[in-house]
Amino acid sequence: MTGIPSQYYLLGNALRNAEQNHRVVSQNIANVNTPGYQTRELSFEDYMKRVKSGESNQGFIDEIPTTLVEGLVERVDGNNVDFDQQVANLKKNALLFQSWSQLLAAKMSTMRKAMTG
């Protein structure tokens, strides 16, 4: 698929990715006091690779695997969630979502203008 619909798919995928990332970060925050819990993240590189390969043009990309975050300081109870970092990640992700959504809205309104004249 090319042209305007592909852009919608791309932005839609980006929104979806932000939503999934929100879930992963929420999981990290919910488990900030769970002994032995290891911080996870969505592998964005894997996601981008799949977008580049054109998979997103066929539809939405589902089920991205999460990976363990390396190089974090572990507490005595085996938990390595960096609380402040996760809260910042959450906010960053929300802003990213806002950006994608605004872009999508702008695209839609342009299209509407073209249709209504």
């Binding site: 970060v25 929420s26 925050i29 919910a30 006091n33 819990y37 969505l42 959504s101």
Partner: protein, 144 residues
């Protein structure tokens, strides 16, 4: 856990867990001077044990879904009761020593603060998700 609003369920499980931890801490502080309980011993400090729902399943993709945090139980602290010399106390033994609860107020205060901070973070996660959903809904309305 999956579905449209699973992000909210994840954070909600965090809220519930932290609230329980807060209640346990409050109970510990309230009983910091209880020298006699039903079984005759002084009050034993309780602590909440958390477990990640994810670890239990042992799968790590979004396909299996996240389920937040789960409270597996409330355990008693088995450390020894401190002995305090207080002959005037009704529960003092022949030597005038009283077995006190093994609650340490500074530990409880730290626990309380971390619980309250984690609670706030889970709450802000829910608020952010709500904003994201509202934004998506505005897209449907054809707004900005």
């Amino acid at each position: 856990m999956s579905g449209l609003f699973s992000a909210m369920d994840i954070s909600a499980s965090g809220l519930a867990a932290e609230r329980l931890r807060m209640e346990t801490t409050a109970n510990n502080i309230a009983n910091a001077n209880t020298t006699k309980t039903e079984n005759g011993d002084p009050y034993r400090r309780k602590s909440v044990v958390f477990s990640s729902e994810l670890q239990k399943e042992g799968r790590y993709t979004l396909a299996s879904g996240f389920a937040g945090v789960e409270v597996v139980g409330i355990e008693s602290d088995d450390t020894a009761f401190p002995m305090v010399h207080n002959p005037g106390h009704p529960h003092a033994d022949e030597d005038g020593m009283v077995r006190m609860p093994n609650v340490k107020i500074p530990t409880e205060m730290v626990d309380m603060i971390t619980a309250s901070r984690s609670y706030e973070a889970n709450l802000s996660s829910i608020t952010m998700f709500q904003e994201m959903v509202e934004q998506s809904l505005r897209l449907l309305q054809g707004g900005s």
